[in-house]
Symmetry: C2
C-alpha cells in the first residue's frame, strides 16, 4: 500500500428538502455575500433557484448570480465570475447544478483570490493555496464534484479540456443533496451520469499498486451498487430510493475513498476529455464508448484486473483472465446499452472522428507516454481510439 493522505472535510446534508438549508450552511462556511453559479434554465424553471435565494435571504446572506454555465464549461464563464467577485466583494461561491456549475464555481473560487491568470492552476504553472469557500446544491448525480477537490475546465482557445486536482483546497465546504432534484433529469443524462461515476471508480480500480484489498473491495462494492440501482432509475425516474442510492454512489465514486493507498489511472478520462472538447458530446456518453475500448485493449495486454472486475462485479466465472475480461466487457456494454448509452463513436454522433487530432492533443496535454496500470504511447492510444469506432 502506498503512503497516502486522505482529507475529505465536506459536510454532506443528504435527503429530502436538503436545499432548504442553503442559508444556514452558507453562514456555517463563513460567507455573507455569495455568488450563485448555475447553468441552464432548469434550475430556474424548477423553482430551485428561487428556493435557494429564499433560504439565503432568510439567513441574511446577500447574493448575486452568474447563470448560463454550459456543459463542458469554459474559461470564459470563469473569467466573468472572477470579475464579478472582485467587483462585488464576494466572499463565497455557491454552485447550484451538476458538475459544470460546480467546477466553474471552484475555478472562480480559486481565481478570485489569485493575482495571475486562473488558468495557471489548470496548466500546472501554479498551485491553489487559497480559495473562496464553495458550497453546493447538487441536481445531477454524475461528476462527483460535490465531494472532490477537482475541477475540469475547457480553455476556449485550442479547446484544451483540463482536469485540476487539489487535495482539499477546492473541496466544497458543504454539499446539499436532495435526490428528488435529480428525478426530472432526462433519461439520457441520467445514464451519462451513471457511466461517469462508474468510470470514476474504475479509474481508481485500475492500479499498478498490488495488495490494497480494502480499496479494491470498496470499489467493487460501489460498482455493484450502481449496477443494481441503475436499471431501477431508468425504469422509474421517480423511484426515490434508487435515485438516492445513485446520488450517494456518485459521491462515493469521486470523494477519494475508492482510491486510497495506490496509484490511479485516469487515461480513459483523459481520452474522453479530448473527444468531448473537440466534438462537444456529453462526457458520460463519451466514457461509455472509451472505457470498454480501453478495457478491450487491456484484455489482450494486461488482463488481470479487468478479469477481477469481471468476476467480482459482473459475476463472470471464466477461469482464463482474457476470456473473463472480455465477458466482463460484454456485460458492461450490455448494461450501457440497456441504459440507452452509445457504444461506438458513430452512435456518439461522430461519424468520422479525427483520430490523428485526438491522439495529438491527448499527448500534447498529458505527455508522450500515459497511464499507470499500463503505459500507453501514441500508437497504443490510437489503437484504443480505433476500438472506440468498433464497439
Amino acid at each position: 500500500m502506498d503512503n497516502f493522505t486522505y482529507y475529505s472535510p465536506t459536510k454532506y446534508i443528504f435527503g429530502k428538502e436538503a436545499e432548504s438549508r442553503t442559508g444556514e450552511m452558507t453562514a456555517w462556511m463563513g460567507a455573507s455575500n455569495v455568488l450563485i453559479v448555475y447553468g441552464g434554465g432548469s434550475v430556474v424553471r424548477s423553482g430551485l433557484l428561487a428556493r435557494v435565494k429564499e433560504s439565503l435571504g432568510q439567513a441574511g446572506i446577500a447574493y448575486s448570480e452568474l447563470g448560463g454555465v454550459q456543459p463542458n464549461p469554459t474559461d470564459t464563464k470563469v473569467y466573468e465570475g472572477i470579475e464579478l467577485c472582485r467587483a462585488l466583494g464576494i466572499d463565497g461561491i455557491l454552485g447550484v447544478g451538476g458538475g459544470s456549475a460546480i467546477d466553474t464555481a471552484k475555478a472562480i473560487a480559486a481565481g478570485a483570490l489569485y493575482d495571475g491568470d486562473f488558468w495557471d492552476f489548470y496548466a500546472g504553472k501554479s498551485i491553489v493555496e487559497r480559495a473562496l469557500p464553495v458550497g453546493v446544491v447538487l441536481t445531477i448525480a454524475a461528476a462527483g464534484s460535490e465531494g472532490s477537490g477537482n475541477s475540469v475546465i475547457t480553455k476556449t482557445e485550442g479547446l484544451h479540456k483540463i482536469s485540476l486536482r487539489t487535495e482539499s483546497a477546492l473541496r466544497p465546504r458543504f454539499a446539499l443533496m436532495n435526490p428528488e432534484l435529480t428525478m426530472t433529469l432526462p433519461p439520457y443524462h441520467t445514464a451519462c451520469g451513471i457511466a461517469d461515476m462508474m468510470a470514476h471508480i474504475m479509474e481508481r480500480y485500475f492500479t499498478s499498486t498490488a495488495q490494497v484489498g480494502i480499496t479494491d473491495r470498496l470499489c467493487e462494492g460501489a460498482l455493484m451498487a450502481i449496477v443494481e440501482e441503475a436499471p431501477k432509475v431508468m425504469a422509474d425516474p421517480f423511484n426515490y430510493e434508487a435515485r438516492a442510492n445513485i446520488m450517494w454512489s456518485g459521491t462515493i465514486a469521486h470523494n477519494g475513498i475508492c482510491g486510497t493507498g495506490r496509484a490511479e489511472d485516469w487515461v480513459s478520462h483523459f481520452m474522453e476529455h479530448e473527444i468531448s472538447a473537440v466534438y462537444s458530446v456529453a462526457h458520460g456518453a463519451g466514457l461509455a464508448v472509451v472505457f470498454p475500448a480501453w478495457l478491450t485493449f487491456m484484455a489482450s495486454h494486461k488482463p488481470a484486473r479487468p478479469a477481477q472486475l469481471a468476476r467480482r462485479v459482473f459475476a463472470v466465472t471464466d477461469t482464463d483472465d482474457t476470456a473473463a475480461a472480455l465477458e466482463g466487457i460484454r456485460r458492461m456494454r450490455a448494461l450501457f446499452r440497456s441504459l440507452g448509452l452509445p457504444l461506438t463513436m458513430s452512435e456518439l454522433g461522430i461519424a468520422d472522428p479525427d483520430i490523428d487530432l485526438l491522439v495529438r492533443k491527448l499527448h500534447e496535454n498529458k505527455g508522450d507516454v500515459i497511464g499507470t496500470y499500463y503505459r500507453l504511447d501514441s500508437e497504443a492510444t490510437r489503437q484504443i481510439y480505433q476500438l472506440c469506432c468498433q464497439g
Copy 2:
C-alpha cells in the same frame, strides 16, 4: 434511504513514518501546548513517545504528559487530565495509542472546556458543543476512534461503560497512521482488534432501513477485505501490506461511511460493554463471543440480513435464510477460532457469568427494549447472554 448528515473532517496521514509529522500536524490543528495521553509502557519502550516528543519539539510545541490509561478506560484518568489542562493552559490533546488512549483524550478535550462534570455528556445530560482539538498517533487497529466522533468511558462507581457519540465535535483533527507501529502488538490483541472492527461494520449492517444498497455493498466489501487480510497478519505479524489493509479497514469500519442513510443497531456492542465493564475482558474478545450469539438469535427470529451477510461475505450458497444464516455464523466462528479468539463465556475466562446482573445493567443503561434491526426486551437479551455460554 433515511436523510443523513455525513461529516468526517479528520485528516489521515497514512504510511511509514507518519508519526514523524506529529509536530507539523499539531501546529496545523492550531495547538501550541498539548497534553500527550497514552497508556502503558509499550509506547515508551518502543521509542514512539520519544519520537512524538522530538517531532513536537522540532515544531516548537510545548507538551505535558498523562500516561497510564488502562484498557476499558475510566473516568478517574479523565478527571486527572481535565485538571492538568486547566492548570497548564493546554490548548490541544494528543492521543497516542489505541482506542483507550484516544477515547480518554476525547473525554478530556470535551471536559476541559465544560463547566460541569464531563460525565454529563456520557449520561446524556449535556451535548458536547466545543472541545479542545484532538490529534492521534495510532498504534492499534481496532477501535476506529481515530476517525470517529465517539468515545467510550467507564464510570468507576457502578462500572457503567458508556459510549458517547458526537457528529463531529470529538472527531480527531488528524490521525497519523503508520502500520509498522501495529506489528509488535501481541497476536491476541491483534485478533481482538479484528473482531472489534468487524463488529463496527456489522452493527451498521444490521438495519431496519430497507433499500440502501450502496451502504450494504460498502459494508460487505470492507468485511470481505478484513476476512481476507486477517489470516495474513496472524500468520506473519510483520507483513506490512496486510497490517496496512487491516489498519485502514479499522478506520473505514467506524468513520461513519459504512452507516450512511439508515438506522444502526448497536445492541451487540452494548451487551459486550456490560461484560467488559464487569469482568474486565478485552472488548474485541467479548464481541467475538457476543456477536455470533446475537446472530444466532436473529437466525431464528429475523434471518433475512444474517442470511445476506452469510451469502455475500462468507460465500454461503444455502437458499433458505435460516440455514444460510446459521452456516454464515459457523464460518464466522471458524474465522474467530482460527484467529485465536474465544467463542464462549468460559473461553473468555468467565466460568459462571452473572447473567442477571448483565441483563439488569444493560437495560438500566440502555432502556427496557433495545435494538433497531429487531427489538429486544430483557427476556430476549437474557437468551442471547445464555447463547454466549454455549458457543
